[in-house]
C-alpha cells in the first residue's frame, strides 16, 4: 500500500467517522493535520500526497485556514477504493458497505446514467423520466435520496421499487444483501396503533400484550430500502416518526422513551394520491425527489406492445405452451383503457389464457376422441387467445379509434422457449403514430408529463367545429402535446366564446391559441423570474389591437378570463392583445390568386404531377393539361384555352410546361387578355414551389415567374450543400418558438438534420415588415407571419398535420444543392434547344430529398446514359423528350405500385433511401461494368425490387437465393459495393440485409456477371 493510498484511506476513514458521530457539520472536510494523524505519516509528506490526490480528482480542497480536504464524487466511488480498504481492518471495514461498491469487480462501474442496468419494459421511452430520476436519486452521494413515488393503482410502483433496490445494490449505494422491506400502510389503516407497531416495533410493556421487545420493519430495513405503499394512509403520528427517522436517522420503538435507536433506511414512499393533496404536501416538503410513474394509457404504444409480449411470455412459460394472439385480440390489449393499468392488463391476459386453454383442452378431447396420445401430441399447439376470451370492463372498452385505424393489425406469437420480442409493427416514419411518438419524446424533454389521454376523444370529435372531411388528428395531437388538463382548460374557455367567434376556420385559431398559451405557461413556470423585456415592448401592440379590433379584444379578454379560472394560471395582461391577434387567420385567405396550369407532354403526366404536388401542398387554382405527344401544334393552344376556362384567370396564369409551343406564350396574353408567364421544363419541385409561393397571394404573376426562374437557377448552381435555415417564430416569450423548434427538429429525417438549422426567433412588434431574412432562410414557422417575401410561412397548426410536415420537408429539400444534370441544364433552359452543359459538377448525382419529388434521379439515370452515348464530359446531355416522358411515367408507375403493395414500409421513405443506394452504386461502379444497367427501366426495377427487399427485411424475412455464396466469393468487390450501398437503408430502417437478398440485387444490377455465374 503506497503512502498515497494510506492517505486516501485516512480521509475515507475520517469521512466515515464523522458521518457516524455527528450530523452538525463543523466545516466540511479535514485538515492536513487530522489526516496526517490518522494516516500516521509526516504532515509535509501527507500534504504532498493530498495535493496529488486533488489533482487526480479524488479529493477536493476547501479554501480557508486551515485548508480542508474532502472526498469528491469520484473519490467516493472511485476505482480501487475497495481494494485500498482491504488491508485496513476494523474501523474502516464497515465503510465498504456504504461508501464503496462491495465487490471489486463492480467497483469499476461508477453510477452512471447510461449504464446497462435493465429497468424492464418501457425504460427507454414511457418510463424514461422515471428511470432517470431514480438513477439520479439513488446514486446521490452518499446514501441516495428518499423518493416519493406517485402513480395510479397498478402502474407498477412496487415492481419499480424492486428495480430501484436492485439498482442501488448493484451500484454499491446499498449493500449487496441490503434488505428491501415493503409495507402497505393501508393494511392497518383502521388501526393506527398496530400500524405503528408494525413499522417501529415496541418495547416490552408498551401496552397490554407486549410481553417482550419486538423490532419493527424500520429496523429490519436498516442499511436497505423501505418501501411504504399507500403512504397517505399513514396516520399523522406515524408521519412525524417517519420524518424524524428521515431527518436524523433515529427512531424509537413504541413505548421507548430513553434511547433513540439508529437506522439508516432509504425510503421509497408510494401513493396513488394526487401530489397536490394536502396530506402529501408534508411528504413533498420532506422528500425531495418525486417520481411519477405514468398510467398505462400514457405509455407509448410500442412499450405497451413490448409489455404485452413480456406478459404473454410469462404466461406461455407457466403454461408451457406457445401463445398466439391474432390481430384483433392484440388490438384489444393495445387499445383498451385498463383503468387499473398494468395490473388489470395482466389479469385480463391471465384470465384469457385460462379460458383459451380450457377451450383447447375441450376441443382437443372432442376432436381426438379422448386419446391420450393426441393430447401429448398436441401439447405444443399454440393457445389461441381470441377476442372473446378477453374480458374488458365496458368502461375500459373505450378504444383509441385514431391509433387503431393507423395501426395495422398484426398477430403476436409467443413461444415459451424464445425470448425475442417481435418488432413493433409500425414502421411508417411519417405515420401519425410515429409523429406522436416524437412529440411524446419532445414533451419528455420539455419536462412535461402528459396527464390523461383520449378518453373524451369521442365527445370531442363530435364537437368538432370544422365541417366533416377534416381529420381530427390535429386536435388529438395537440391534446397529446399539451396534456389533458391544460387542453381541457383551453377547451372550456373556448366554449365561452365559441358562439360569437367571428373569424373563419375556428379550429385553426383554436390550435394557434392553445399552442401559444402552452408556450407562455410553460416558459412562465420554468423561468418564473425572468422579467420579460420583450413583454414590455408589446405595449404598443396592446394599444393597437385594442383600437383596431375592439371586438376581438373583448372576446380575447373573455376567453382568457375563463382560461385563467379553469387552469389556475395567471397571465400577464398583454396576453389579451396577443391572443386577440392570434384569433385572426394567419394569412389573409381572401382575394384572388394567380392561376397555375401545368401542361406537359403525355397522356397523363401533367395530371399525375399535379396530383402528386397537391398531396404535398393543398391548393385550388391549379389545373393540369395533358398534351399527347402526337397532338398537332395548332391544337395545343386551343387545348390550353379550354383548360383556362376551368380556372380563375383574373390575376393571370402561370404556365409550367415542357411543350415548346406553349412555352412561347411567355409574356403574351391569351383568351382575351389573360397574361401568361411560362416556366419551362418544370419538374415536381417546380410545381410544388409554385404552389407554395402561390399561397402568398400578395405576389403578382411577374413576381412569381421571376422568383421561380431565379429559384430554378439557384437550385442548379453547383454549390456544395448549404445549411438551410428555418425560423421558429413567436410573438412573445420563447416558449412557443422553442417548442416549435423542437417539433421541427424532430420532424426532420436524418439526412436533412445536419443540413437544417432551426432558429428560435422572437418577433417584437417593432420588427415585421422590415425584418431581414437571413441567408439560406428556407421557411418560417410560427404563430405569426412576419411576411417575408419569397420565404414560405407555415403556421404552427400546420405542424400538427401530416400534410403540414411534408410540406415543410418539401420546402427544405427544395433548396438542396441537388445538381441534377437536367437542372444544370435548365439554367440555360428557357430556349428549347440549348447546348449541353459542360459544367463538370453537373453530372454529380442528386442528393435524395425527403418528402419531395423523386423524379430527378430517374432523369439523371437517363441523362447519364444519354451522356455515355456522346462523350463522358457531356454526361449532362439533354435527354430526349420521349425518354423524359418514359422515365416520368416509369417513376410514377413504380411509385404507384409501391404505394399499393408495400404494407409495412412507407413508400416515400423507401424510395428516398433506394435512390440514395442507386446513387452510391452508380458512383462506385465503372461504366463498363454497369452496361445496360443504367437504363431507366433497370432503375425503375431496382427501385421496385429493393423496396420489396426492404419490406422483407423489416418483416425479418428473406427469400433464399441458391448461389449467394458463390456470387459473394466470385465478385467480392461488387459484393462489397452493394453491401456498402445498403448503408442508407440500415440507417433509415434499422435493418441489415440478408446475403440472399443481396444476391438478387447483385443479379439485377450486374446482370452480365450473373450470366457468367450461370455459365460456369
Amino acid at each position: 500500500m503506497s503512502r498515497r493510498d494510506t492517505v486516501l484511506a485516512a480521509v475515507v476513514k475520517l469521512t466515515r467517522q464523522r458521518g457516524a458521530q455527528t450530523r452538525a457539520s463543523d466545516g466540511e472536510g479535514f485538515t492536513t493535520a487530522e489526516i496526517a494523524d490518522v494516516a500516521g505519516c509526516l504532515r509535509a509528506n501527507c500534504s504532498a500526497e493530498l495535493n496529488a490526490l486533488v489533482r487526480a480528482g479524488l479529493l477536493a480542497k476547501r479554501r480557508g485556514r486551515p485548508v480542508r480536504y474532502y472526498l469528491t464524487g469520484d473519490g467516493l466511488a472511485s476505482t480501487g477504493l475497495s481494494s485500498l480498504l482491504g488491508p485496513v481492518e476494523g474501523a474502516v471495514a464497515p465503510l465498504k458497505k456504504t461508501l464503496t461498491p462491495a465487490r471489486s469487480d463492480v467497483s469499476l462501474r461508477r453510477p452512471h446514467l447510461e449504464d446497462d442496468f435493465d429497468w424492464g419494459v418501457g425504460a427507454e421511452r414511457s418510463l424514461r423520466d422515471a428511470v432517470q430520476q431514480a438513477k439520479m436519486a439513488l446514486t446521490y452521494p452518499p446514501h441516495g435520496m428518499h423518493i416519493l413515488l406517485l402513480g395510479e393503482t397498478g402502474v407498477g410502483k412496487s415492481s419499480f421499487s424492486e428495480k430501484m433496490h436492485r439498482y442501488a445494490a448493484s451500484f454499491g449505494v446499498l449493500d449487496e444483501d441490503a434488505p428491501l422491506v415493503a409495507f402497505n400502510c393501508a393494511e392497518y389503516a383502521s388501526n393506527p396503533e398496530i400500524l405503528l407497531d408494525q413499522l417501529f416495533g415496541h418495547a416490552r410493556g408498551a401496552y397490554t400484550g407486549a410481553h417482550q421487545d419486538r423490532p419493527g420493519l424500520v429496523e429490519r430495513a436498516d442499511g436497505g430500502m423501505l418501501f411504504l405503499d399507500e403512504v397517505h394512509r399513514l396516520p399523522p403520528q406515524g408521519q412525524e416518526m417517519l420524518f424524524h427517522l428521515l431527518d436524523y436517522g433515529e427512531f424509537r420503538r413504541i413505548g421507548e422513551t430513553e434511547v433513540w435507536r439508529k437506522a439508516r433506511v432509504l425510503l421509497v414512499a408510494a401513493t396513488t394520491e394526487s401530489p397536490e393533496s394536502a396530506l402529501l404536501a408534508t411528504f413533498r416538503r420532506r422528500i425531495p425527489v418525486v417520481i411519477r410513474l405514468p398510467a398505462l394509457r400514457d405509455w407509448e404504444l410500442r412499450d405497451r406492445f413490448d409489455l404485452i409480449y413480456h406478459l404473454c411470455l410469462e404466461e406461455a412459460r407457466s403454461l408451457g405452451r406457445p401463445l398466439h394472439l391474432p390481430g384483433p385480440s392484440l388490438d384489444i390489449l393495445l387499445f383498451s383503457r385498463f383503468a387499473s393499468n398494468i395490473g388489470e392488463l395482466k389479469n385480463t391476459l391471465k384470465l384469457a389464457c385460462a379460458r383459451a386453454y380450457n377451450r383447447t383442452l375441450s376441443r382437443r378431447t372432442d376432436a381426438a376422441g379422448q386419446t391420450p396420445d393426441a393430447r401429448d401430441h398436441g401439447s405444443q399447439e399454440a393457445i389461441e387467445i381470441l377476442p372473446e376470451h378477453l374480458v374488458i370492463a365496458p368502461a375500459d372498452g373505450v378504444n383509441r379509434p385514431l391509433f387503431r385505424t393507423l395501426m395495422r393489425s398484426v398477430d403476436m406469437r409467443v413461444d415459451p422457449g424464445v425470448d425475442r420480442p417481435p418488432s413493433f409493427p409500425m414502421m411508417e416514419a411519417d405515420s401519425i403514430y410515429v409523429k406522436l411518438d416524437r412529440l411524446g419524446r419532445t414533451l419528455q424533454e420539455l419536462g412535461f408529463a402528459t396527464e390523461e389521454i383520449l378518453d373524451v376523444l369521442e365527445r370531442e370529435l363530435k364537437r368538432q367545429r370544422a365541417p366533416s372531411g377534416e381529420t381530427p388528428v390535429s386536435v388529438d395531437e395537440l391534446r397529446q402535446f399539451v396534456g389533458e388538463s391544460f387542453y381541457s382548460a383551453v377547451c372550456r374557455a373556448w366554449e365561452e366564446i365559441d358562439p360569437e367567434f367571428p373569424y373563419p376556420d375556428t379550429q385553426a385559431a383554436f390550435l394557434r391559441v392553445a399552442m401559444h398559451l402552452f408556450g407562455v405557461v410553460r416558459s412562465d413556470s420554468t423561468v418564473s423570474t425572468a422579467a420579460s423585456s420583450s413583454r414590455r415592448s408589446l405595449f404598443d401592440i396592446v394599444e393597437g389591437v385594442r383600437k383596431e379590433s375592439p371586438h376581438a379584444y373583448q372576446l380575447s379578454r373573455k376567453f382568457l378570463e375563463a382560461f385563467e379560472t379553469f387552469s389556475g394560471v395567471q397571465l400577464p395582461p398583454e396576453e389579451t392583445a396577443i391572443v386577440a391577434m392570434l384569433f385572426r387567420p394567419s394569412t389573409p385567405e381572401q382575394g384572388k390568386a394567380v392561376a397555375i396550369v401545368v401542361a406537359l407532354f403525355g397522356d397523363s403526366v401533367a395530371t399525375e404531377m399535379v396530383r402528386t404536388a397537391l398531396q404535398l401542398v393543398c391548393d385550388e387554382d391549379i389545373a393540369a393539361l395533358n398534351i399527347p405527344v402526337q397532338t398537332p401544334q395548332d391544337v395545343m393552344e386551343t387545348m390550353l384555352n379550354k383548360t383556362l376556362e376551368t380556372v380563375d384567370t383574373t390575376r393571370g396564369v402561370l404556365l409550367l410546361t415542357n411543350v415548346p409551343r406553349l412555352a412561347e406564350l411567355d409574356g403574351a396574353t391569351v383568351a382575351g387578355g389573360v397574361p401568361i408567364r411560362a416556366i419551362t421544363r418544370p419538374d415536381l419541385h417546380t410545381v410544388v414551389t409554385a404552389l407554395h409561393i402561390h399561397r402568398d397571394n400578395r405576389l403578382e404573376l411577374d413576381d412569381m415567374a421571376s422568383w421561380l426562374k431565379a429559384h430554378n437557377r439557384s437550385r442548379s448552381l453547383p454549390t456544395p450543400q448549404t445549411t438551410r435555415v428555418v425560423w421558429a417564430c413567436c410573438l412573445t416569450g420563447k416558449g412557443t418558438a422553442r417548442a416549435v423548434e423542437r417539433l421541427i427538429r424532430e420532424a426532420l429525417p436524418a439526412e436533412l438534420r445536419g443540413q437544417v438549422r432551426v432558429v428560435a426567433k422572437e418577433l417584437g412588434p417593432a420588427q415585421g415588415p422590415d425584418l431581414e431574412p437571413e441567408a439560406n432562410l428556407a421557411a418560417v414557422v410560427g404563430s405569426i407571419n412576419p411576411g417575408l417575401v419569397g420565404v414560405p410561412f407555415f403556421s404552427v397548426e400546420t405542424l400538427f398535420s401530416r400534410e403540414g410536415i411534408s410540406q415543410l420537408l418539401g420546402v427544405l429539400s427544395l433548396g438542396q444543392a441537388s445538381a441534377a444534370p437536367d437542372r444544370a441544364h435548365r439554367e440555360t433552359g428557357d430556349a428549347e434547344d440549348s447546348a449541353p452543359s459542360s459544367d463538370p459538377d453537373a453530372s454529380a448525382a442528386p442528393v435524395p430529398d425527403a418528402g419531395g419529388s423523386w423524379s430527378d434521379q430517374v432523369v439523371s439515370a437517363g441523362g447519364n446514359q444519354a451522356g455515355k452515348s456522346s462523350t463522358p464530359s457531356q454526361s449532362a446531355a439533354e435527354p430526349a423528350t420521349e425518354q423524359d416522358e418514359m422515365t416520368a411515367r416509369l417513376e410514377q408507375h413504380v411509385y404507384n405500385l409501391l404505394k399499393r403493395n408495400l404494407v409495412f414500409v412507407n413508400p416515400d421513405l423507401a424510395l428516398g433511401v433506394v435512390r440514395e443506394m442507386w446513387r452510391r452504386i452508380v458512383q462506385g461502379t465503372a461504366e463498363s461494368a454497369l452496361n445496360a444497367a443504367l437504363s431507366p427501366e433497370t432503375y425503375a426495377r431496382f427501385c421496385l425490387h429493393t423496396a420489396y427487399v426492404i419490406e422483407r427485411c423489416v418483416r425479418n424475412e428473406h427469400v433464399p437465393h441458391p448461389y449467394a455464396g458463390q456470387i459473394a466469393a466470385r465478385y467480392p468487390n461488387e459484393w462489397h459495393q452493394l453491401q456498402a450501398a445498403w448503408e442508407p437503408v440500415q440507417e433509415t430502417f434499422r435493418v441489415s440485409v440478408h446475403p440472399d437478398e443481396l444476391a438478387y440485387l447483385f443479379e439485377l444490377v450486374f446482370s452480365d456477371h450473373e450470366v457468367e455465374v450461370f455459365q460456369s
Binding site: L890, L897, N901, L944, E957, S1007, V1011
Partner: protein, 164 residues
C-alpha cells in the same frame, strides 16, 4: 388432359417484381412466362417494366385473363409455361373456362384489412377464401410456397385453421 406441370400456375400479386420468380424459372426450367393480369395488360408502362425484368432468353407475355384462356387454347407453346397470376380469383376463372390446372402455387397475396394470414406471405379475405374453396371442390391442389426450397404447405388446410 394437358401434360402434368406443362402449365405451372403461381399466384403472386407482385407478379415479377418480387424477383422471386427467377428462382422458379431456374427450378422449373421454363422458357415462357405468362403474366395474367387485367390491370397490368392494360397498362403499357407496366408491360414495358415487366418485359424488361426478365433475361432475354425468356419469353414473356402479359395477358388479360381472357387473353390467357385464348392463348392457352390457341397458341400453347411447346415447352412448359410459368403462369403468374395476380389474383387467385382469376385462376379460378381460368379453371372454369376449361383450362386444365391441377396445381396452384400461392406465392404472395398481400394483406388487406380484414384478411387472415395463411402464411407470412399469403393473406386471404372473403373473395380469396371463396375462390380457394371452389378450387378445392374442383380437386385442384393448392399449396403455399414462396420459393422452390420452401416446404409445401397445404393452403386448404391452412384455410380451415385460420379462416372462420
Amino acid at each position: 388432359m394437358s401434360g402434368q406441370q406443362s402449365l405451372f400456375v403461381r399466384v403472386d400479386d407482385r407478379l415479377i417484381h418480387g424477383q422471386v420468380v427467377t428462382t422458379w424459372v431456374r427450378s422449373l426450367g421454363v422458357r415462357t412466362i405468362w403474366v395474367m393480369s387485367d390491370r397490368a395488360a392494360n397498362e403499357p408502362i407496366e408491360v414495358v417494366l415487366l418485359k424488361s425484368s426478365v433475361p432475354s432468353h425468356l419469353d414473356l407475355e402479359v395477358y388479360t385473363v381472357e387473353q390467357t384462356v385464348e392463348a392457352w387454347q390457341r397458341r400453347r407453346p411447346s415447352g412448359p409455361v410459368l403462369l403468374l397470376a395476380e389474383f387467385l380469383q382469376d385462376v379460378l376463372y381460368l379453371c372454369e373456362s376449361g383450362v386444365d390446372i391441377d396445381q396452384i402455387n400461392l406465392g404472395g397475396m398481400r394483406y388487406k384489412p380484414g384478411y387472415a394470414a395463411l402464411s407470412k406471405a399469403v393473406y386471404v379475405g372473403e373473395a380469396e377464401a371463396a375462390a380457394l374453396q371452389a378450387l378445392e371442390a374442383r380437386g385442384v391442389e393448392a399449396y403455399i410456397r414462396v420459393v422452390p426450397s420452401d416446404a409445401k404447405v397445404d393452403a386448404y388446410e391452412r384455410l380451415r385453421q385460420r379462416w372462420h
